[in-house]
Amino acid sequence: MMNHGGDGPAATNLRRDPFKTSVGKGAGQRRRQAAITIGKDRRDSVVRAKRLRRADPADHGDGDAMQLAAVAADDDVAYKLLEDSTAAAVLNLKNIGKKATPKKVEALQTLRRLLSCSAYPPVHVAVQAGVVPLLVDCLGFGASEDQLFEAAWCLTNIASGDPEQTRAVEPALPLLILHLGEKNPARVVEQCAWALGNVAGEAEDLRDWLLRQGALSALARNLSSPIITLVRTAAWALSNLIKGPNSRAATELMKMDGIVDTLVRLVSNGDDELVVEVAWVLVYVTSMSDLHSSQLIHAGLLPPLVARLAVSHHQPLLTPVLRTIGNIVASDNSKCDAVLAAGQSLPGGINGALARILETEHRTLQKEAAWVVSNLAAGSILHKRAVFNGGAVSPLLYLLATSTFDVRKEAAYALGNLCVAPRDQGEEGKPILEHLNVLVDRGCLMGFIALVKSPDLESARLGLQFLELVMRALPDGKGPKLVEKLDGIAAMEELQFHANEELRIMSNMLIDQYFGEDYGLEEEFVSGDARTQYGPEYPPWRRGGLAA
């Protein structure tokens, strides 16, 4: 007699279903950067979203203001004096009225100096004194180049202040956009772009407003300017304007004629400082749509971009370049192929370039680079082999063993991905033994066990998944023994009462499966040994075949 029909509900529910997330689904995955951020935007520490324009190198007439600022920094009385002078300068500007250009430029210059002489200029005083309408007047048609330039500078610095000060310049926005046209002198255009960049950096509603007013195309057209500083500023302002989270602006940008080629050309030819700004544009563009990435790859972006990655030591440059490449490889395998191909002309290829960055002492770069590697390692079997043999393994192992938590987590994803076969071959969760063996021999298990004990839920899950892989896949039941030796049982036990259901079930399952009590009867109840009858990949509980 037999009970046909296979799995009873107990078998299905308890033994298989909750463990759906095996390593194949967790580690073997590509991950995009989170769409919703609650943490501080890391770019801020590198490049501030809003920028103050300090002294003009061509301008030596800053005497008084400079002196004031020098003492004002740590002297309340002096700062009060600075504030008073600013209020007076605004009043002076008001009194001049609508005409009298030379005098007006002079008054604007005085004000501008006061607003640029310190890291914390007294913009609040100027705003309170009603400076914005006066500056809007100065931006009117027919105003001289000097007047436009000075007024835009003042507005730039006002907009670099607190949110309310930034919002105070709103009435000037239409005119600032208007002056972006190519007929205007470059220094005026650049200053207007700068002011707009500050506004765009503030908030999404302001970005929407600027978009509706046509700021995007006006700024983008300036990317083709021969004047480097203007291109740089325009690129920076653009990057602020398209950063989302809504992807509309980036999409609009990518639809412009010739923009793709322009961006690629700038990455190829620009100096480091320029490429920093362009690369941030690329970060946002590639993060929002795979289509954008395809367009850029098609236009030849990758070779110059990867080359930058391989040689640059400029950290502000490496961050956006890494993230752009990361966004691209977070997509499909063909894009990973393109990235690998682009690195072929370089010694060591893309993997060598990434290994170099993993070996720097710079934590955020290490983290970004490990993230890129983890996404490459989530690709096809060829990608996995390329990464495995490409020099990144040693630094990743080192980081997993020694680094801070966030870097360890990224390194763990990368190493974990190297050990599991791709998902798209119907072999989900199948180990790549030649990689797994090497990594385990080189001591990575300890790092994963440490992650199991981490309070971070994703890390704990990743750690458990890797332990599961090791115990399931290593030959001769070596896996459970290794885990036991490294105190992995205790680590898993800590999760047995976790409030997170998945972690709780996974840890209980694994302990039961590999270290549980057996009743010592039939062979099928023997833990560990039972799986050999189905081959190493499919322990019976995953098939629902163990208990009746």
Binding site: M1, M2, N3, H4, G5, G6, D7, G8, P9, A10, T12, R16, A34, A35, I36, T37, I38, G39, K40, T402, T404, F405, D406, G426, A450, S454, P455, D456, E458, R461, G477, P480, E484, K485, L486, D487, G488, I489, A490, E493, E494, Q496, F497, A499, N500, E502, Y514, F515, E517, Y519, G520, L521, E522, F525, V526, Y538, R543, G545, A547, A548
Partner: protein, 963 residues
């Protein structure tokens, strides 16, 4: 339901009655309330009663509890496709309750408030924030206007419970949207209240009445901080990190004698707050080390200082463990160098680790008074938050970078502890306890594979000089704690103790089974049980022959232990009995053991209270039965004679917990019998078909198994007794549900296997009807698979023609439709070796009949599926079963079905003659092709190239050709 004087009066009366000691009026009131709760508006009315000051306090409290339960069971909207007997609260009333509950919670006295707060937390789990947009703003505005700390703490308590979800959910876009919403709304007010209260704490050092609620408030703020920071460091907290850390530092170093607790068991508000701070800085240290770095050395100093002064009182346990945990995190981090200095390491070990590892009076008390709890902590891993465990974790943390130094130091400590003990064993026994504890706890957690040892001491030396003497001591009752330690040591390192030595110690271990201390005899049972379970490869290390010399005293003491005070239901002892009974050559002891077990069974039947003891008891009976009757089937009568009276009591008195076990053992007994079976079995058969028994989910697997045994051993008797209709009735009921349909098939398959076609044929139309109705209206993958397996089984037993005919008798040409639309497409999902063979063989048997009835156009498709089934590995063709079980049938309290491993059922192959289905396929097709020459062409057309190639290979392998 409306809020009127009348309803208030009636319901108040009811609530009063629910508190009655008399069960009759209490039950009545409860039933009344249950029915009232179905009415719309009930929740609102109860909430109003809770707030009504004119109602007596105890009634309001009872109403508050009732309200909470009302919310708990009726707030969730059940899935629309599931019928449920519980009427949930309707949306308009939900909105009313949401609108009112915060005010209610804040205006009620503490005891009621806690119930309402819980209700609110349950509501928020379902609705917050998306379907309850007003909650957070309402809490924030109440917080800003509140002035007294009862209200403030009520609000924070609520906020704390609704934010807790951020501590246990995986990152997702949805979670982050919710988190961002909470952060945007709550960060600023949280810091405000925290700082404002900080000023109050600072200004009122001499006023405990003001300080206490203020410090409770600060603790709640810290817990909320923990939740909001759990996923990752939010921007706001990073920007205000200095503010928060500054306050944290203040509280870690805050002392105020006025707030101290006199009772050493109680935790003071200050310590509670400090512990919460430690959790927060630990979280930052774990996850945000870079941002936290600037504050690290200050906090390390603070925590260090704190641990130097913290007492060993239980009231300070939580503080001590969280503080140690922080140091552990630092020791494992990139900043481990803080502890690199040998003097620092020494101080940590000597001033923090050792004092916290030493056994305390509380532990001794636990050992004496509450052995269950002591064992749970000492042996079962429920010590995650004890000082001993945390201190050991600290040592492990330090070892991750300073292994050599730490190992060396602890080796030294252990030696000196042992010397202390040697100098004056009676006085200094705690030193030895500490030494053994350290060796066991600092070794990696061991499993039965025994891969990990200890590198702290020389194992052989330690075992022979410290453990063996304890085990060899004549008086099993002297210094029980050290005896327990020694037994635990042996259990932990059991695989490393040589076999001969273990066997030499066996008489001593058996002696400890009747030691007076409950911990000691439990540990002795555990040690023996674990030793017997050791496997070297596939063999158990200790065989029946090893045990034979000890059986007499072993059984005497095992059953003796169950007569000791507080150990009548000792699960460790019973498990050991089970283990011995399944390994030993019990021969002459069988009857004696059965007698003992039956007596115990009869006793626990009266009041089943310890599920794990009872489980092992039945396992033991099953093991004994298997062990004894395998060698001598004649013994089964003895078992029946002794067991049946007890089983009868179980069934007659409706001992629901035991019924599932009883059915399994009865099945096991019956399976051991050779037909004809004794009439006793047949007498009770009708009773087993009572619907009441089958209504209980937990009974079903055991009953099915028993029913199968009857069908196997007495098919004719059942058929002649006209009981087949009832059996098939049971099948029909089981097969109607998605959860139990496989059980229904188990019965049906057994019927088909054991009865002749003549007996079956009157029932076949009805059977097919039931199955096809289910197929038509509520099909699932599992059901379809089971159906194919059943039809195949029926076919191989009674011939393909019978399958075709009986199906077509339901409706002409139905067979072709089923084959084409159901059978062929699902055939490739069949799993299991026996099932795969059965289904592929029978499908091949259908080829000839298909030709005969001119249905050969189906042959290509059919054989293509058969080939896929045989060629592709199971995991590539079988999809995961995504069927949703019927929740209404699972819900509610039911006794649980637990499978008895010792009563495990053997699987049988209905096609023993056919060894290799591939051979069968090749030869059958070759045969058919002799008669029907176009078979080969049909297969060429119908099979995928890979399958065609494989078929060619089959034919080649078995030396046949296709016409």
């Amino acid at each position: 339901m409306q809020y009127t004087q009348e309803t208030v009066k009636t319901l108040s009366q009811c609530f009063l009655q629910t508190l009655a000691t008399d069960s009759e009026p209490r039950k009545q009131a409860e039933n009344f309330l249950k029915q009232a709760a179905d009415q719309a508006g009930y929740g609102m009315v109860i909430m109003q009663i809770v707030c009504e000051p004119s109602v007596e306090e105890e009634v309001r409290q009872a109403a508050a509890v009732n309200f909470k339960n009302h919310i708990k069971f009726r707030w969730a909207t059940p899935d629309s496709d599931v019928s449920s007997s519980v009427i949930s609260i309707q949306d308009p009333e939900k909105e009313q309750i949401k609108g009112a509950i915060v005010k209610v919670m804040l205006s009620t006295p503490p005891k009621i408030q806690s119930q309402i707060s819980e209700a609110l937390a349950i509501m928020s789990q379902h609705d917050f924030p998306r379907k309850w947009q007003t909650l957070l703003p309402e809490l924030v505005s109440s917080l800003s206007s509140a002035t007294d700390y009862t209200t403030i703490n009520g609000i924070l308590q609520t906020a704390n419970s609704i934010f807790k979800l951020f501590r246990y959910k995986f990152k997702s876009n949805e979670l982050y949207i919710d988190l961002k919403y909470c952060l945007d709304g709550f960060c600023v007010p949280l810091l405000e209240i925290f700082q404002k209260t900080g000023l109050i704490v600072a200004a009122n050092t001499a006023a405990p009445a003001i300080l206490k609620p203020a410090l409770i408030c600060q603790r709640l703020c810290c817990r909320i901080f923990y939740s909001l920071n759990f996923q990752e460091l939010p921007e706001f907290f990073e920007e205000h990190i200095a503010d928060w850390m500054g306050e944290f530092h203040k509280y870690l170093t805050y002392t105020n004698p006025l707030l101290a607790e006199n009772d050493p068991e109680k935790t003071s508000v200050v310590d509670d707050l400090k512990a919460a701070v430690c959790e927060n800085i630990n979280l930052y240290m774990e996850k945000n080390e870079e941002e936290f770095q600037a504050y690290l050395s200050q906090f390390a100093t603070d925590v260090w200082g704190l641990l130097m002064t913290v007492s060993l009182n239980p009231g300070q346990d939580r503080l001590a463990t969280t503080a140690i945990k922080f140091l552990t995190t630092v020791s494992k981090s990139v900043h481990h160098k803080l502890f690199a200095d040998l003097a620092t390491l020494t101080q940590i070990c000597e001033s923090i680790v050792i004092p916290n590892v030493r056994i305390r009076e509380e532990d001794e008390e636990l050992f004496e008074m509450n052995h269950v709890e002591y064992i749970r902590r000492d042996m079962e891993g429920s010590d995650l938050d004890t000082r001993r465990r945390m201190a050991c974790e600290l040592v492990k943390g330090l070892s991750s970078h300073y292994r050599e130094q730490v190992t060396g130091m602890f080796n030294g400590y252990i030696q000196s502890m042992l010397q202390q003990y040697a100098a004056n064993p009676a006085q200094n026994w705690k030193a030895k306890d500490c030494a053994i504890y350290l060796v066991v706890s600092l070794a990696p957690k061991q499993a039965s594979s025994g891969a990990a040892g200890t590198d702290l001491v020389n194992f052989e030396q330690f075992f022979s000089s410290q453990i063996v003497p304890e085990l060899r001591e004549k008086d099993v009752n002297s210094n029980s704690l050290l005896k327990a330690d020694a037994l635990k040591f042996l259990t932990t390192f059991r695989t490393q103790v040589p076999k001969h030595l273990t066997l030499e110690l066996m008489p001593q271990l058996i002696g400890f089974l009747v030691a007076e201390s409950n911990v000691v005899h439990s540990y002795a049972a555990l040690a023996i049980e674990k030793l017997l379970a050791i496997k070297d490869g596939k063999q158990t290390r200790y065989t029946s022959a090893c045990l034979t010399p000890y059986l007499q005293p072993l059984f005497a003491n095992l059953f003796g232990a169950l007569k000791l005070p507080e150990s009548q239901e000792n699960a460790y002892v019973m498990r050991c009995i089970m283990r011995v009974l399944s390994i030993a050559d019990i021969g002459p002891f069988a009857v004696q053991c059965l007698g003992e077990l039956t007596k115990i069974l009869a006793e626990v039947c009266k009041n089943p209270s310890n599920p794990s003891f009872n489980h092992y008891l039945f396992e033991a009976v099953a093991a004994l039965l298997r062990n004894a009757c395998e060698k001598d089937p004649g013994q089964v009568a003895t078992f029946e004679n002794l067991l049946f009276p007890v089983f009868q009591t179980v069934l007659e008195n409706d001992v629901t917990e035991f019924a599932p076990y009883v059915f399994q053992i009865m099945a096991q007994l019956l399976e051991t019998r050779r037909p004809p079976i004794p009439p006793t079995y047949l007498h009770i058969f009708p009773a087993l078909l009572t619907p009441l028994l089958w209504q209980r989910q937990a009974n079903v697997p055991g009953l099915v198994r028993l029913l199968q045994a009857y069908l196997q051993k007495a098919p004719q008797e059942i058929n002649q007794g006209n009981q087949l209709t009832q059996v098939l009735g049971v099948f029909g009921k089981l097969v109607g549900s998605k959860n139990s349909d496989h059980q229904g098939f188990f019965i049906l398959n057994t019927v088909v296997e054991n009865l002749s076609f003549e007996a079956l044929s009157p029932y076949m139309p009805e059977i097919w009807n039931v199955l096809f109705t289910r197929l038509q209206f509520r099909s699932t993958v599992k059901f379809t698979k089971s159906l194919i397996i059943f039809a195949s089984l029926f076919g191989v037993k009674h011939g393909p023609q019978r399958v075709i005919e009986t199906i077509n008798s339901v409706q002409p040409e139905l067979f072709t439709t089923i084959l084409d639309k159901i059978w062929i497409p699902n055939l490739t999902f069949i799993s299991g070796d026996i099932e795969t063979k059965l289904c592929s063989v029978f499908a091949t048997m259908l080829v000839a009949p298909l030709f005969q009835s001119s249905k050969e156009m189906l042959v290509g498709k059919l054989m293509n599926s058969v080939m896929t089934l045989l060629v592709k590995p199971e995991e590539e063709r079988v999809e995961e079963d995504k069927d949703v079980p019927d929740m209404d049938e699972v819900a509610g309290y039911v006794a649980v079905y637990a499978q008895l491993h010792n009563a495990a059922k053997k699987e049988d192959d209905p096609l023993k003659d056919i060894k290799d289905p591939k051979e069968f396929v090749a030869k059958t097709l070759a045969g058919v092709s002799q008669q029907y020459r176009n078979l080969s062409a049909i297969l060429q057309q119908g099979l995928e190239p890979a399958n065609m190639t494989a078929l060619g290979q089959f034919c080649g392998a078995y030396g046949v050709t296709l016409g």
